[in-house]
């Protein structure tokens, strides 16, 4: 595994945003005193006139972005997920989503994999908060290739977007030539026994688990859910019909996140059990990301154990 390249999706964001800024003069970037961490500083250096550092004032940043969007510009507003989706929730609801404005909120440092900063900075409720907002599109990308695609793609769609990114460096999963489509899940591995729906940093864990389970005679279909909303109903239905066991894994509270979104579709269209893996309605703690993923049961090890004890071969 040593030859697999790793990169944090926040880094991919910074690089892609700079590229996008070169191509599209309508891109405006805002940050809240975290440009070095969210990597918007790459854009800021080359385009100082189109970059606004709003200071430690996330509510002001989001509403300013909505004002900017009414001038036919495309603002990308970035900070840590906890401050974007949490602190500025009402601004996102009333000044962005209700008026359906073309504001792109790119939130980095999502989930417990933020690590050592601890629970106050580990945003595990943002998917839930953002996907319940009418007009909002919610993305959660898993690697460098996909994130770079998403950063440009969301500039082409009209309306609010929440893009969830991570601090943790994870494997580059896809070749540069890989095609993606908003609202279409990606079937990474073929499998008939189990489907693992994963998103963001947990996709790598699902892939690792599938490799190990394959050796033990269990074939696993890994599905990368980069679009949480709108959710890909057809793929959920297909997997529910074609595989025996359904599992979801996310670096997010199991209430309201990826597992909930899939459950809603299953309840409506094809009632079937889904094993939801994620943070079990508790706050995180300090520690390194790998240790935390293990402690909170969102890693390959836990997936393997869970699948083996639930599958009837």
């Amino acid at each position: 595994m040593e030859n697999i390249k790793k990169k944090a999706t926040r880094q991919s964001y910074g690089e892609a945003l700079l590229e996008l800024g070169r191509k599209n003069k309508d891109i405006i970037v805002l940050d809240a005193d975290l440009a070095g961490a969210t990597k918007t500083d790459l854009f800021a250096k080359e385009f100082p006139d189109r970059f606004f550092d709003m200071g430690i004032a996330e509510q002001d940043m989001i509403s300013t972005a909505s004002g900017i969007s009414t001038c036919r510009k495309i603002p990308y507003a970035s900070t840590f997920a906890v401050f974007a989706a949490g602190r500025a929730y009402d601004q996102i609801r009333n000044s962005v989503c209700y008026p359906n404005l073309n504001v792109k909120i790119v939130a980095t440092h999502a989930g417990i994999t933020v690590g050592e900063d601890g629970a106050t900075h580990q945003m595990i409720e943002d998917i839930s908060l953002m996907r319940t907002l009418p007009n909002m599109t919610v993305l959660s990308t898993s690697d460098d290739t996909q994130t770079k695609w998403a950063v440009e793609e969301i500039s082409k769609i009209q309306g609010p977007v929440y893009l969830r990114l991570a601090r943790l460096a994870t494997n580059i999963i896809y070749p540069e030539s890989q095609k993606f489509e908003i609202g279409k899940m990606v079937e990474i591995t073929k499998g008939e026994d189990v489907t693992i729906f994963a998103t963001g940093v947990t996709v790598e864990q699902a892939i690792n688990a599938s490799g190990e389970l394959k050796k033990q005679g269990i074939s696993v279909r890994v599905v990368d859910v980069h679009t949480i909303k709108p959710i890909d109903k057809e793929m959920i239905l297909k997997c529910a019909k074609e595989t025996k066991l359904l599992v979801s894994i996310e670096d997010h509270n199991i209430i309201g996140g990826l597992g909930s979104a899939i459950s809603e579709v299953l309840t409506d269209l094809y009632p079937k059990k889904l094993i939801r893996t994620g943070i079990k309605d508790t706050f995180g703690r300090s520690g390194n990301a790998k240790e935390l993923m293990n402690l909170y049961n969102i890693d390959a090890e836990y997936l393997i154990k869970t699948i083996k004890s639930n599958i009837s071969m």
């Binding site: 189109r50 004032a57 509510q59 002001d60 300013t64 909505s66 900017i68 001038c71 603002p75 009402d90």
Partner: protein
């Protein structure tokens, strides 16, 4: 008729529209709508560069009614300025009407931004003013805030932004009617001294009587010539201004007149 007299007459028409809308809706916010009626009249009938036939005109001046609950006043000036039919004011807040309880930019022609949740309008106005600067456009941005509304912390985040970027194309207007829902500003949560606060945040301050048409006109003129800093006009106003039984009465913040009260109000507006 002088310009001032003409605008004073127009303000009466605007107030009638407010009363009409709130009476027909049997709900709404007449007090704060009446206190900004003169300011909005001067803006929409003397000051703003706008086109009722092209509400989304890119070069237009913008008004962000941050105190969005005073939508009856905004709707009344927009209707009387020709953005939509005056008779539609009677549909305010009704189930099949485009005139929502709080202003909705996607439903009402001439509304520059959807507002309602207090404290967000100045940030929005900053965003528009920043883009005006970036694109060398000449439009001006007006943000109308309540004196109770500025208790919201986001307002003070936004004032730092207005100051940092030297937004001289921005004019903030504080409707200082001294009343909020639970009582007077001093009783509930004093935002005073408003002028000194905004001054220390880098604004040019203009104190005026918010019901004196000439003073309002002059203030906008002065604001246009301020360079390298934003302006804040603090307009001393009377909540419920123009209707005797509503003036300075906190209970008229958010309720509709009865049929009898409606008749008295309309008569008073005809007599003045």
């Amino acid at each position: 008729m002088s310009k001032v007299e003409e605008l004073e007459k127009k303000a009466k028409t605007i107030r009638k529209g407010i009363i009409e809308a709130v009476y027909e809706a049997k709900s709404g916010h007449p007090g704060g709508s009446l206190s900004i009626a003169d300011i909005l009249t001067v803006l929409y009938f003397n000051e703003l560069k706008i086109d009722e036939n092209n509400p989304d005109w890119e070069e237009r001046d913008r008004v962000i009614l941050s105190k969005g609950h005073c939508s009856p006043a905004l709707y009344s000036v927009l209707a009387n300025r020709g953005f939509f039919k005056v008779e539609d004011l009677k549909t305010f807040r009704k189930i099949d009407s485009y005139l929502q309880g709080h202003p909705d930019k996607n439903k009402v022609p001439g509304v520059d931004m959807t507002t309602g949740s207090l404290g967000q309008g100045l940030s929005i106005a900053n965003g528009i003013a920043l883009m005006g600067k970036l694109q060398n456009k000449n439009y001006r941005v007006y943000a109308i805030l309540g004196d109770g509304e500025i208790e919201e912390g986001q307002i003070w985040e936004a004032t730092m932004t207005s100051n940092k970027y030297k937004l001289d194309n921005l004019c903030v207007i504080i409707d200082n009617n001294n009343l909020q829902i639970d009582g007077s500003i001093e009783e509930v949560m004093s935002s005073y001294p408003i002028d000194e606060k905004f001054k220390s945040f880098g604004f040019q301050i203009i104190n005026i009587d918010g019901h004196n048409i000439q003073e309002i006109m002059d203030a906008f003129e002065v604001a246009k010539n301020v360079k390298n800093k934003p302006t804040c006009i603090i307009a001393k106003t009377i909540k419920g201004k123009g209707i005797s039984f509503m003036e300075n009465r906190v209970e008229w913040h958010g309720k509709a007149p009865t049929e009898e009260q409606y008749k008295i109000a309309m008569k008073e507006l005809s007599n003045i």
